[in-house]
């Protein structure tokens, strides 16, 4: 048996495969939260993205190189529209962000619009005709240990790495990133130097929604890859926890996403190896681990230094007189 079929190598490789949607969703949520808006609609937006991508993949004939980008764009538009509803309610109408986000997940979620659209469009009968397959990056797939982990993933995974680097640079090395952080920490200050709080909040909530849409597309175009109601199985909520886990930093969020990717894939990885473990326990593990990690992170000393954006969850009301 070669080293590349070692159990640990497989666990690491599937951690990245299953962690990829979490990277997209969590980095998207991070952008919104950096602007001071918490969006609990991640799960709903992911499902909107998943159903739109599945619809395009099932109904548009053509080469994968055309269909798949169109499917991704459809996912981003659908989830971005969902995010825009949230942005309108919380930024313009100053509605409670928690309740508005929950409303978005109920509206779009497993028992809502995503499943309605899937029914109307007749999805779920056959697997998607076009899927994101695994890509042998630089021909390094056979490279010992690192080959299967890093160079035998789907295009979406490679894109997620580019995204994390771009968002890191954007947040910490650009003027817009600085403005964004100012809007999230102290909107009054940002406003007083001429940064439009409204525009930044709308922009980043919608951008975050579009990334959640890509995360949803990861399910309907690679992981599942067909339509099933609620196919994201609560990963949108785990993405929310990952933002806290990663202290609102994309790099740490990526690490968390892979940790949870490993946990969510453990049950099939071990079963495929014929290792007998109670499935119920393994299935519950990612959710239980989220709770444990959250308790540790919210009580750690670092969280006092690298805490949440100060204005998170608060509507901004300009003093007009």
């Amino acid at each position: 048996m070669s080293v590349n079929s070692n159990l640990l190598v497989i666990i690491f490789a599937s951690a990245i495969f299953y962690g990829t949607p979490l990277v997209f969703a969590a980095v998207g949520e991070l952008l919104a939260e950096r602007s001071g808006v918490i969006n609990l609609g991640v799960e709903g937006m992911m499902l909107l993205g998943a159903v739109s991508a599945a619809m395009v993949a099932a109904n548009v004939d053509g080469p994968a190189a055309v269909v798949l980008p169109v499917a991704l764009v459809a996912a981003m538009v659908a989830a971005g529209l969902g995010a825009a509803i949230h942005a309108f309610l919380v930024v313009t109408l100053r509605v409670n962000q928690i309740i508005s986000g929950l409303a978005l997940t109920i509206f779009a979620g497993a028992a809502g619009l995503s499943s309605y659209l899937a029914n109307v469009w007749g999805l779920g009968k056959q697997p998607a005709m076009n899927q994101f397959g695994r890509m042998d990056l630089f021909g390094l797939k056979k490279f010992p240990v690192l080959g299967p982990i890093l160079f035998d993933q789907t295009l979406l995974t490679y894109l997620s790495w580019v995204l994390v680097v771009l968002v890191m640079v954007y947040l910490f090395r650009t003027r817009m990133g600085l403005h964004l952080r100012a809007v999230g920490e102290s909107p009054q200050t940002a406003d007083s130097v001429g940064v439009s709080v409204t525009r930044y909040r709308y922009g980043h909530v919608i951008a975050g929604g579009m990334l959640a849409g890509v995360a949803g597309a990861c399910y309907s175009l690679t992981i599942v890859p067909t339509w099933a109601n609620g196919l994201t199985a609560g990963e949108g909520w785990i993405a929310l926890a990952l933002v806290i886990f990663g202290f609102w930093r994309p790099d740490l969020t990526l690490v968390g996403a892979y940790l949870f990717g490993a946990l969510s894939s453990l049950s099939f990885t071990l079963q495929a190896r014929g290792i007998d473990v109670p499935t119920a326990f393994l299935d519950a593990l990612p959710y239980l681990a989220t709770i444990v990690v959250l308790v540790i992170v919210s009580n750690s000393r670092i969280s006092k230094r690298l805490g949440s954006p100060a204005a998170l969850g608060r509507p901004y009301e300009r003093e007009e007189r």
């Binding site: 028992a111 909520w237 499935t279």
Partner: protein
């Protein structure tokens, strides 16, 4: 510059609230949601008038439909109370779903344990108690974590929903547990044991209308909560903690304890809902049915529409129960699943938007003479 100010409008906090707005705004929001829903239906080539008229018929008007609506309303009433009580103190318990499952597990467990020989009132009483205890235990976890470990209760309570769902599935599908029927067809197709007849909750026949015991119990609990919130010391503490936690601390209250108490109470309410669902309707632990109906999440919609008022929760749960019941009755190609959740979401969005009209006046900047 906000979108509203660009079109020459501005939100200005209201100095006084006209009373009529308290009912006019929710009603108008509801109608607005139906209008937006009609657009969604038209886009997806459904006929909104026929969809809405069928919901109205199957949910409320057809003979016997109201009795079905009461059955769907019962769990929503309890999960609605669960969310209303918790949200009121700023404890965003979205674990009503899981607390509902655990209540159903406990209640069906005690009913099976007592067996067919138990007297009916003892069996029903034990189920009520067991359901409440189960839900309370499940909500106690996020309560403690929030109050003493500053951990976000939204995420912890939600994660526990999945854990409870997996637990219920384990009991019926992945183990030979006490809840599982192992004889007869149950040996081949996994399913739960049916609770004995003596433990099945009564219904009261009022001519053409059948009112389940669970609904009456829920209404009584709602009135009790109303009194608790308005007339007791604990209710006062809840209001202060919900409004201004630091004030509560200065006044010598212990916000952490209040939070844990409210979390537990809130979970007990959802657990009661689980017990009522088993006692009045399913008579069995049915993990798939529980997870498909999503009563816990719908309870959040109920609570928000009722503006967190327990008495209003009773009426809202009957309205949403009607829509849910019509959804069950009509499910098929021209009434796709998911429509009910979509409509609920739209109603919630419009109500949230409508709330703004209660709190703010929309002022035209031009009329005021301020340049837009």
């Amino acid at each position: 510059m906000s979108l509203a100010s660009r079109v020459g409008l501005r939100l200005e906090p209201r100095v006084e609230n006209p009373r009529w707005m308290n009912w006019a705004v929710p009603v108008c929001s509801f109608l607005a949601a139906l209008l937006v829903g009609a657009v969604v239906l038209l886009i997806t080539s459904q006929n909104p008038i026929s969809v809405y008229s069928r919901i109205l018929e199957r949910g409320f008007l057809d003979s016997g439909s109201l009795s079905g609506t009461f059955i769907s309303a019962t769990p929503l009433l309890f999960t609605g109370l669960c969310a209303a009580v918790a949200f009121k103190v700023g404890f965003f318990n979205i674990g009503g779903e899981g607390q509902f499952y655990v209540g159903a597990i406990f209640a069906s467990g005690i009913a099976l344990a007592l067996g067919a020989d138990a007297q009916s009132w003892i069996a029903v009483g034990a189920m009520v108690l067991a359901g409440a205890v189960g839900g309370a235990l499940w909500a106690f976890i996020p309560g403690i974590l929030r109050a003493y470990f500053r951990t976000n209760e939204i995420i912890t309570s939600l994660m526990l929903n999945y854990v409870a769902g997996i637990g219920a599935t384990y009991l019926i599908f992945e183990s030979n547990s006490f809840w599982r029927e192992l004889s007869g067809t149950g040996a081949v197709f996994p399913k739960g044991k049916i609770i004995p007849l003596s433990a099945q909750w009564p219904s009261f026949d009022l001519g053409s209308l059948v009112v389940p015991f669970g609904l009456l119990l829920g209404a009584v609990v709602a009135i009790w909560l109303h009194v608790l919130q308005r007339r007791t010391r604990f209710g006062y503490e809840m209001r202060v903690v919900g409004g201004a936690p630091s004030t509560a601390r200065y006044a010598g209250m212990r916000p952490a304890r209040v939070i844990v108490a409210v979390a537990t109470l809130s979970g007990a309410l959802a657990g009661l809902g689980g017990a009522a669902d088993v006692g009045n309707f399913r008579h069995v632990l049915d993990p798939k049915g529980l997870q498909q109906s999503g009563f816990g999440y719908a309870g959040i919609v109920v609570a928000a529409l009722a503006r967190l008022n327990p008495i209003a929760v009773v009426f809202v749960s009957i309205i949403l129960g009607g829509i849910t019941n019509a959804g069950y009755a009509l499910q098929g190609p021209d009434f796709p699943a998911g429509l009910v959740g979509t409509l609920e979401g739209l109603i919630l969005f419009c109500t949230l938007g409508g709330e703004v009209l209660v709190r703010y006046r929309i002022v035209s900047l031009r009329r005021q003479g301020v340049p837009a």
